[in-house]
Symmetry: D2
Subunit: 286 residues, 4 copies
């Protein structure tokens, strides 16, 4: 990465005093190195004696974004960030799948990054459109997964899955998880889906509590145009995005998914592989 | 069964014209044989030239209850019926797990039953109490299952399971299914639980999409006093009963379950075994 | 347990010097208390200056059998022991499902047991007969499980399962595990079967890698007369017992299973429940 | 496909009189169209009045190979065939995953193919090397899967998995299935693995009856250099290839897998998609 880093956006875990304090400390550290810093309102509000610098806006093209929090904070920041901006995840708690470094490694790591000694790993995003009566109702991006699921009180629902215009199958289940490889170790895994290496250009489709046993998880190319239509009339059904946002679906609504042209650029410093993370997080081999 | 049948309660699938017609036809047939018949309001309303007989009340101790509908109708009738009353399920649609005979077999079967030539098979019921702040808030009976599950928009919930006062485990999952053997082939099966022969004095506990892989389905004695406590504060969580009724649970609510002293007495005419039904319904061996 | 303990059989893990040493130490301790002790040949051979006491014979009705080893040693001893003799499992390694106490607790525990302060918990055994051309070819007892499985080089096999004379289903799979509740946490669990509380009078039937998805694990009464017949002609198929013994099966051989009239009587000292063991061994809730 | 078809190799299902008869009939039909035909010995032996044409040799570069049999025959032919030669699978029995047409469609389909009106779909092959004490002991190609599995009488085995030189995990299980996308609907599916669309450059690794619950199926890039080493000393362990060939593995043997540079070129005539086949074969949505 030859381009020098002159502007850094800082994202802190919401509602965490530790994250706010660490972020302000980091802002000072960066400004002392003549780097322009943008911070969120919650962080700015905690600054003395008042703050008149830049507020963080994800649509801006910073040279680097640093996220202080856990995988959840990084998911939200990753979905929103301007395509191509490198993101560094700093874990304030326990080891994450997505966050690259621990709190204690922050400043030594930044010295490396400012000197251009880092790699980026692209993770795919999915673009999701909700279509109702031929109108595009809503648009989202997800980093982990889009989940279509019935509410607790509704009965089994029916979903039709198409890929590239052709019928794949009809699910009778509690719902369906459409996951990126990054999301394959999240909700997908709890529902019985496989782990997928993030290098694969793939999407995983895993039904939740399927009524038909043969409806097993399926891994498909992420270039497929995937369409899921709700075929049940009376049920209360929701689309949730990265487990963080949600919207209600109606009878015959169609959810369209396609890989986003650009994914999230995660900053990589360690030699830790995807498999090393799996062993650490899933207690593999234990 | 030596006791002669002098009173019969008739239960029809709600909202089904075919069920109403069949039930009234059956009521006439029984009355012609000097048997006192009780019917539901929906059925009575369809009678010409008006009806002044008995209305069906599940707390009455009929000598026999005939249910015309599917497994769902039988589930609801079975939960409510006076303990020990034999119930005959007549399937108006496709083969059910619980309904014993098809529509075409109704009258020949009744001739056998009125002559005392039938067996009964007892199926267990669970009694369920919701306890909030040491008060018994609600009481239910279930024939298939009690399900504690988060709503579509809530995150993973935490449930503590105790048996006979001792800790069993803590679940981090979308929910937990507590199923009778009868219910083991219903929702439990979709969530990965085992099939349990109804002769076993057992209850199945199957988590829905558990976060921890080792939290496998477990089969316990139905004499256990089972208690499930909701340990998550912010989530929207529901208790549903046989997939037909539901109630909202709050933080620290406890759901207590115990086998009902008396179960449902299903009338058995055929030599069809539980395994024969499984093969037919689940396409076993296909 | 009012009957005083006057004779104790000692079983040591085979090939373990630690087990031999601990067993001889224990034999001395018991003899000093005027208790008649029987030891195995391997242990006797290690005694100085030679041994002319009793050799352990499982068919003898000792007042107590003490097993020094792990779950595997206890499995083998439990299968062979005279019905009704209380068995105490002493774990020389890590916590077991079956062994009740650790090495360090041995002598304090024996003081309690000799004073009659202990409980016994009965665990079921299965009796297994291999029938070939109407002749009873071999007879076994198992504590954990009987497994019918194809060899690595054979293709899928077909097994017919009957219960009490009626067809249950036909499996097309790598094999079938027939497990006691005790064995439910062993191989059965790896193959996707449920955990079953040992208090339940049940047997678990779990196919290994079934070809048909609907062939799910099934829990049946242990009073069922279970028969499994090998329907594949060319395959190399084995019956293995508690993972410790094995025999080859031929085309049309039938394996019959029924609960043994008497089970294994495990000595219980602690208040640890089955669920406590599960949490400890399976890292439940971790 | 602009190149005219002048030579065709014919492969018939072994031991099938129907396959032999159909193949000879097809040979005559092709020769009448001045196409040079190569047949197998078993087919040649059935020809009257004796045969002095070409014998089929998979290393020859025919313009087309036609396989008459089922998926098994096509698997074996596909592994052996010269890279890049188009293969047409003709199903003599029930619908296959790999065979493209039914017996009745054979001649109309060939008219299309000879006129150049067909597509080819590349399916990946894996190249497998068994390494013992740094020596390459054996080399294979597989179309569906390579399976490393213990024999029925051995206990659980330990396998170390590496990808591109780095540790992935250590399996304690009955074995491990390494499957192409084509093989994902075969043994992999019985062992709980996901379905993988053949367009994905992926390999599926699915443990057989794993001892550790978190060892879930994993999908990795087929460009990975995968190495599996047998870490158990006493066990009897086999490597099987497409379920059709096998070899014994020893302690510390390593199985290396990599995608073959060229895959199998299946002739495609219908518009049937991979998903259409799944629905037909797996009774999806039924």
């Amino acid at each position: 990465m030859s381009q020098p880093i002159r502007s850094v956006g800082l994202v802190a875990k919401g509602g965490s005093r530790e994250a706010v304090r660490s972020t302000n400390e980091l802002a000072d550290w960066l400004e002392r190195r003549d780097i322009r810093v943008a911070i969120e309102e919650e962080v700015a509000a905690a600054r003395e004696p008042g703050f008149n610098g830049d507020l963080y806006d994800p649509v801006n093209g910073y040279d680097l974004v640093v996220v202080l929090g856990g995988d959840g904070t990084l998911l939200a920041a990753g979905r929103a960030v301007c395509p191509g901006v490198p993101i560094l995840g700093v874990n304030l708690g326990q080891l994450g799948f997505l966050t690259e470094i621990a709190r204690a490694e922050l400043y030594p790591s930044l010295v490396e990054i400012l000197a251009g000694r880092f790699a980026v790993e692209e993770r795919s995003l999915l673009e999701i459109t909700v279509v109702r009566a031929d109108e595009e109702l809503a648009f989202y991006r997800v980093f982990n997964d889009a989940v279509i699921a019935k509410s607790a009180l509704s009965r089994i629902i029916e979903l039709t899955l198409k890929a590239d215009g052709g019928l794949v199958t009809t699910y009778r289940s509690d719902g369906l998880i459409i996951s990126t490889p990054t999301g394959s170790t999240a909700y997908n895994l709890s529902a019985g889906g496989p782990i997928v290496n993030p290098l694969l250009p793939a999407v995983v489709l895993t039904p939740i509590c399927p009524h038909t046993f043969s409806l097993r998880p399926i891994v498909v190319p992420d270039q497929s145009r995937i369409e899921v239509t709700l075929e049940t009339q009376e049920a209360e059904v929701y689309l949730t995005l990265d487990g963080q946002e949600g919207t209600k679906l109606r009878y015959l609504d169609t959810v369209r998914l396609i890989r986003a042209a650009k994914g999230v650029h995660l900053v990589r410093l360690s030699g830790r592989t995807f498999y090393d993370n799996l062993r650490g997080k899933l207690r593999w081999g234990g």
